[in-house]
């Protein structure tokens, strides 16, 4: 019987828009990456507060993850979904709202981050108004996508679409729960969670942002564009389904491996490690599935730059998914954590997997979207080699830097003392590797610029008017009795026909897998009292110290300084007593950090006098020769904003921090001014050159730094009374 054929057109205009956004933000994000790489070897490049390392580093990560990779995902999703589902996107208006909304978010990020407006949680730095925008735009995308699925003309939902669905659902859950915060003004908020729980939520989010933003959507793209480019079906469709479900089941558990040997409860850490090691198997199953898709087409790889990009992308995926589980093993992690090894691991994944897959996809799409031949195949080849050597240079340099510094931190001499007691000694050793990294990053950026040029020139050769071919496909017949074998036969929802119910059922299952796994870790962290014993001597920060902490966050100090001493002798010898979970119960947000470009500050309080800190902030290299820290002389002249202190203290009090009478109107400001006068008087007494600092930002920052780790020293009378931080 001849079916009734529906005629329709695909919306490729939206795909073209996302393609250009991908290229533009890719170049911008990687340019910022090169700038911050150079700042690490030439600290004088931190010439304005807006472009200092601490503020630019989050801009780099946000730009490459959410702007470059995000737009790349949308490019591929909008192109492939329409074709796999045999329907135009549900609504052109929603597509446009998604596109422009996402670009607006990126612009908002590019403006606010250099201004120091940040939540200071990695990859979740954007403040609450932008977070709300992200949630709204994500919902627009989700509605558009799911309605497209609902209106499809293809019964079976190809595995790439499964990966997209899982990504959309999970990213929404992660984004919402990690960004719950108490606003204390339009551009300031405090995380709803404190200390250990905040750290746990952050890395539950952080790790799964890698999983469900940088992995699963790109796997969907791999399962669509690799068969396309190789012109042969995926090696094993069954393996791809297994790959999907095992990833969804396992990834969500792995977050705690970012917090090994910290104050996180040991059981959570072990659970994270076990699931991370198990993740190796599905990841490699998927990687092998991708590579074997090229079976019988390997001869093409030598000639076709697109396949070259795909092969390196999948190889990088396999390398980083081998390395990830390895790094999650506690003993390996003890060496690698806080070093550049992690940065190298991230870049193998981001440059190799996301960067190369995106490049291959864009080169494949360009001639089809612009309806002309690619401007230069040769230039694409040149891009490939620039990118490959750039990535290798970057990775090898930074792996060496990480292992070297990790080993130096833990080295003892024959007398049992630290062999390199000065932190700066270990930093200086990295400089040649940092130069090599800057060179590798520059090469990768040059490759990106070549691609941008190639794609723009291809676009320039487009026809005067794009052809919009009419596609025909039979509508899905809404009567029972279809004969198509359904791999989920028997798993129907009552009241729905099989093919209608499948996406709903599937989405529910994915959400259940993600939520159940999350709750298995989150509930005990929040609700079992012994996980976070409180310490009686740990008190909230004073209003001035809180203001100093806000400045610490604004300047992005946490990007280079940890506040978490691990329970190793080489750490306690260098920094002081190891950190306890109860020390952080008033830390909204936690500021444990993830990389020690500079030394740990958890025990900084009382190590030096106030004047030392003032001098160090004004001229770091005068105090510590060869320091690579940016200078912050402006803190000595910028006035402290006393007017916001009360609002900030009130917000913290609403989160349960026991501020007592400080919440009375004006009380916090008064207390802050009194403490500032004391600190400023002490500085002026030590060095008469520094007068009039009592209303300057430096005073608040010094007060905060001098408080770090002080309470625990009074804690010999550790409280027996134990309450959970969940009740705070």
């Amino acid at each position: 019987m001849n079916a009734q054929l529906d005629s329709f057109k695909y919306d490729d205009a939206i795909v073209r828009k996302f393609l250009f956004a991908t290229v533009l933000w890719g170049v911008v994000g990687m340019l910022v990456g090169v700038i911050i790489a150079l700042q690490l070897v030439m600290p004088n490049l931190n010439f304005t507060p807006w472009l200092a390392f601490g503020r630019l580093r989050p801009l780099h990560t946000n730009a490459v993850i959410f702007a470059f990779a995000g737009n790349a995902i949308f490019t591929g999703v909008y192109y492939s979904s329409q074709r796999l589902l045999k329907t135009r996107m549900f609504s052109d208006a929603l597509s446009a709202a998604h596109f422009w909304g996402w670009q607006l978010i990126i612009v908002a990020a590019a403006v606010t981050l250099p201004l120091g407006i940040t939540q200071s949680k990695e990859y979740a730095e954007l403040e609450w108004p932008i977070d709300i925008m992200i949630a709204v735009v994500w919902v627009i995308f989700a509605v558009n996508f799911f309605m497209t699925v609902a209106r499809r003309r293809e019964r079976h939902i190809y595995v790439a679409i499964w990966f997209y669905i899982a990504s959309i659902v999970t990213v929404a859950i992660l984004h919402i729960f990690n960004n719950l915060s108490m606003p204390a003004g339009l551009f300031k908020s405090y995380s709803l969670y404190a200390g250990v729980q905040d750290a746990f939520m952050q890395w539950w989010y952080g790790h799964n942002a890698v999983a469900f933003f940088l992995t699963t959507p790109f796997l969907g793209l791999m399962y669509y564009f690799m068969p396309k480019a190789a012109n042969r079906p995926v090696f094993s469709y069954r393996l791809s389904i297994l790959h999907f479900w095992t990833l969804v089941f396992m990834y969500i558990w792995a977050g705690p491996h970012h917090l090994h040997y910290t104050a996180l409860p040991e059981w959570a850490s072990t659970l994270g490690m076990i699931f991370s090691v198990m993740l190796w198997m599905p990841s490699w199953g998927g990687g092998v599935n991708g590579l074997l898709t090229l079976r019988g087409a390997w001869n093409k790889v030598a000639e076709d730059p697109i396949l070259k990009f795909f092969v390196v992308a999948v190889t990088a995926y396999m390398m980083s998914t081998f390395e990830g589980p390895m790094l999650s093993v506690k003993s390996v992690n003890a060496l690698a954590h806080y070093t550049d090894w992690i940065i190298a691991h991230v870049h193998t994944g981001a440059l190799g997997w996301n960067g190369f897959l995106t490049a291959g996809m864009l080169y494949w799409l360009a001639p089809r979207l612009f309806q002309t031949k690619l401007f230069s195949q040769k230039l694409a080849e040149v891009h490939f080699w620039f990118a490959t050597f750039g990535m290798i240079l970057y990775a090898t340099a930074i792996y060496s830097a990480g292992v070297q510094q990790g080993l130096m931190w833990r080295a003892f001499d024959e007398t049992g003392r630290l062999q390199y007691p000065d932190f700066i000694e270990t930093t200086m050793k990295l400089m040649p590797m940092y130069w090599m990294r800057a060179l590798g990053g520059t090469m990768f950026l040059v490759g990106m610029i070549l691609m941008a040029y190639n794609l723009v020139m291809t676009w320039a050769k487009r026809p005067a008017k794009y052809e919009e071919p009419v596609v025909q496909a039979p509508a899905l017949v809404k009567t029972p009795g279809e004969t198509v074998p359904n791999i989920f036969a028997g798993l129907t929802i009552p009241g729905h026909r099989k093919w209608e119910a499948l996406p709903l059922l599937f989405t529910v299952w994915t959400a259940v897998a993600v939520i159940v796994a999350s709750l298995f870790e989150i509930i005990p962290t929040f609700l079992i009292q012994t996980n976070i014993p409180t310490i009686a001597s740990v008190k909230p920060y004073t209003p001035l110290e809180l203001a100093g902490r806000d400045i610490y966050q604004r300047e992005g100090c946490f990007n280079c300084h940890s506040q978490m001493v691990r329970p190793f002798r080489y750490e306690t010898e260098r920094f002081g007593e190891y950190s306890k979970p109860g020390e952080f119960v008033y830390d909204h947000p936690f500021l444990w950090g993830s990389r020690r470009t500079g030394p740990d500050l958890a025990r900084e309080g009382g190590k030096y006098n106030n004047l030392w800190h003032v001098n160090h902030m004004a001229q770091p290299r005068k105090v510590t020769p060869n320091s690579i820290m940016p200078a912050y002389p402006q803190l000595l002249t910028q006035k402290l904003d006393f007017a916001t202190i009360q609002k900030h203290v009130d917000a913290m009090a609403m989160l349960g921090v026991p501020y007592g009478d400080m919440v009375k109107e004006g009380a916090a400001v008064e207390a802050a001014k009194a403490q500032a006068a004391e600190v400023a008087a002490d500085i002026a007494a030590t060095d008469p050159n520094y007068t009039g600092l009592e209303d300057k930002e430096i005073t608040a920052l010094v007060a905060y730094l001098q408080r770090l780790g002080v309470d625990i020293k009074k804690a010999n009378e550790v409280a027996a009374a134990r309450t959970t931080a969940g009740g705070q």
Partner: protein, 65 residues
């Protein structure tokens, strides 16, 4: 009595292991669904979807409806 008291005394030492077993069972279920005999034609057809998607209604689709 607060929820934290209940949770703290619930004896959840085997919590993680229980979760692991739960997920292994789910995994085995998926393996069965994916690899059960009789699914091969559907799988092979699905695998070809990206290759076939530029066409305008394949003969196979026409026979479906």
């Amino acid at each position: 009595m607060r929820l934290t008291d209940v949770m703290s005394h619930a004896g959840l030492a085997g919590y993680a292991e229980f979760a692991l077993i739960l997920f292994v069972l789910a995994f085995l279920g998926i393996v069965w669904v994916v690899f059960r005999p009789g699914n091969k034609p559907a799988m092979d057809a699905a695998a070809r979807m990206p290759i076939d998607d530029e066409s305008t209604g394949t003969p196979e689709e026409e026979t479906r409806s």
